[in-house]
């Protein structure tokens, strides 16, 4: 093969697309993006404008709604913390170590995302309900899973942890493994290298993963309503208000949930604001 001649490269002009093609492409992109944005934002804007003001106003008088918001926030936070503790090591292993069955474990972690949520609730009930060996033992020890806030946490953890695992795995994968190797050659043990090098470099990605998990946990309905109908989280409360009183009473509750979910999502954006635009 002839040696590569760099000088020839400079003489190659970048291909200039036809101006008409470029204009059409711009229009297609603009129209597609606008339609998509409209589709995504329309329902949210509609919901908040229909029920937002009343929802926020009713926070003062509606004790049930306040209690429900608090319950939702606390259970989603506990579920997220449990997810962080339980899933971070797994996410690290999936990102860093190649082991037999890694693909299988990865696929299994995605499985809860495709299980319909009421089915997930039934599956959890079968494993953790009082009629099961595990649930029976917990019940005897005074910890009832179903029909209690514990059931809410379990349902949230099950449906939202897969999002954390996959995002955390990505966050670890983005940290160059060579930094860890350098730390190891300088005398750090594996844990120290993880704590001093990998964790700080992936912290932002892990936080974002946790925020997404928390937001998903807050929105869960199907699995929770099977495990724990009372006390009611906000999603169950809005369903209950709809069936008891109709749309006009369900809208404010739903709108409050949307506004409430804005808090972590805005925090996530703020967190990422300083991050340069790269992969």
């Amino acid at each position: 093969m002839a040696p590569f001649d760099v000088s020839k490269l400079e003489s190659v002009e970048p291909r200039r697309p036809n101006p008409a093609v470029r204009a059409i492409a711009t229009i297609v992109v603009a129209v597609a993006s606008s339609l998509f944005l409209l589709f995504m934002l329309g329902p949210i804007v509609g919901l908040v404008s229909a029920g937002g003001a009343r929802g926020v106003a009713s926070l003062a008088s509606d004790r049930e709604l306040r209690a429900s918001l608090l319950l939702t926030a606390v259970t989603a936070t506990i579920a997220t913390l449990l997810g962080i503790i339980g899933a971070t090591p797994l996410a690290y292993l999936l990102a860093r170590r190649s082991f037999r069955g890694r693909a299988v474990v990865s696929a299994l972690m995605d499985l809860p995302l495709v299980i319909p949520h009421p089915v997930a609730g039934i599956a959890l009930l079968l494993v953790l309900g009082r009629g099961s060996p595990v649930g029976g033992a917990l019940y005897s020890a005074g910890l009832r899973v179903a029909s209690s806030p514990v059931g809410i946490v379990c349902a949230m953890l099950f449906v939202s942890a897969p999002l954390y695992v996959s995002a955390a795995r990505e966050a670890f994968a983005r940290v160059d493994a060579r930094y860890e190797s350098v730390a190891r050659t300088l005398g750090d043990d594996a844990w120290r290298a993880f704590r001093r090098v990998t964790l700080p470099l992936s912290a932002r990605g892990l936080t974002a993963a946790a925020v997404v998990m928390w937001a998903r946990a807050v929105s869960e309905f199907g699995a929770i309503v099977i495990l724990t109908y009372n006390p009611k989280v906000v999603s169950v409360l809005s369903y209950d208000r709809f069936t008891s009183y109709g749309l006009s009473e369900a809208l404010p509750v739903a709108a409050v949930l949307v506004l409430f979910a804005l808090v972590p999502l805005a925090a996530l954006r703020a967190l990422r604001a300083g991050e340069p635009l790269r992969g």
């Binding site: 039934i122 009930l125 309900g129 009082r130 009629g131 029909s147 109908y229 208000r241 069936t243």
Partner: protein, 295 residues
């Protein structure tokens, strides 16, 4: 006649009817080629879908006939038919704690034991829920035990409440609950054991309307803060075809089938206590409701 396009029938079913009716619906689909779009849920939820979301079905079969004149007539329907009875029972399984000891004489005490989990349905959403509370009051009077109603309620706490009769049954089946207050048809169609209660308290005797009406219960009204007082009544299931049913012809053909003697016999075999003659209230009921008597 060969139909090139399959008939569609949108059916809203009370959760307690869903399981026992399935074979009858399947048979009808197989025979006529009708595609039945069935939605199962709490009766009040079905009503909200019509009145709030304007998602109107072809037929609604609800656990309490009374809610139809209260919430659907005249705007959404002009008639309804009472078509089946039911009664409240205490349902349980072989796994339920003290399953071998419970009987007609000791059930009140059994259900108050601290090691027993008792469930009921939400009185604000499902007829089975408010009927259970009415039954507690009738029991207190019948057994002459002041405070019994409150005690039974205390031992079937909010955490053991579910939105409808079928979801409650699922919890009993899963072993999460030991005993539930539910309809006899639900207990039978799920293969549960059940304890029959005296006719004076189980709301199943059509001849005791006056007796049942001596108790009442408050449930949530049509807006927050409002309450609605419901008097005791014999349990009667009601069906209606909304005025704006999207497939009225399909609905009439199904009514023809549903009220035929053969289907009534099949539904009875499936533990639905069908009335011999549906009782039609209002105007505009199609001729396909067979053997109807008017009130």
């Amino acid at each position: 006649m060969l139909r090139l396009v399959a008939d569609t029938l949108v059916l809203y079913l009370a959760a307690s009817l869903s399981k026992p009716m399935q074979p009858v619906l399947d048979a009808y689909s197989a025979r006529t080629g009708t595609v039945i779009q069935r939605e199962s849920g709490a009766s009040l939820e079905h009503i909200r879908k019509v009145t709030e979301l304007h998602r109107v079905p072809d037929l609604m079969l609800l656990a309490d006939a009374e809610v139809i004149p209260q919430l659907l007539v005249p705007k959404y329907a002009t008639w309804y038919a009472e078509f089946a009875r039911n009664r409240l029972v205490v349902a349980y399984t072989a796994r339920s704690r003290h399953a071998s000891e419970i009987n007609a004489g000791n059930w009140m005490a059994m259900l108050q034991r601290s090691d027993v989990e008792v469930g009921r349905t939400d009185p604000n959403l499902a007829p089975a829920g408010y009927r259970t509370l009415l039954m507690f009051q009738l029991a207190e009077r019948y057994y002459k035990r002041p405070g019994l109603a409150a005690a039974l309620l205390r031992h079937a706490p909010e955490s053991n409440v579910r939105p409808n009769a079928a979801e409650l049954a699922a919890l009993l089946e899963a072993g999460e609950l030991d005993y539930i207050f539910d309809y006899q048809s639900v207990a039978e169609s799920n293969g549960f054991r059940f304890l029959t209660l005296p006719a004076a308290i189980d709301l199943g005797d059509a001849n005791r309307a006056a007796e049942y009406a001596t108790v009442s219960v408050k449930v949530r009204g049509s807006s927050p803060g409002q309450t609605l007082t419901l008097k005791g009544q014999p349990i009667l299931y009601g069906l209606t075809m909304p005025s704006d049913a999207p497939h009225p012809q399909a609905a009439k053909r199904f009514l023809d089938y549903l009220t035929s003697p053969q289907t009534i016999a099949a539904l009875r075999a499936a533990h639905i206590d069908m009335l011999e003659h549906p009782i039609v209230v209002g105007t505009g009921a199609p001729a396909e409701v067979h053997g109807a008597v008017r009130r």
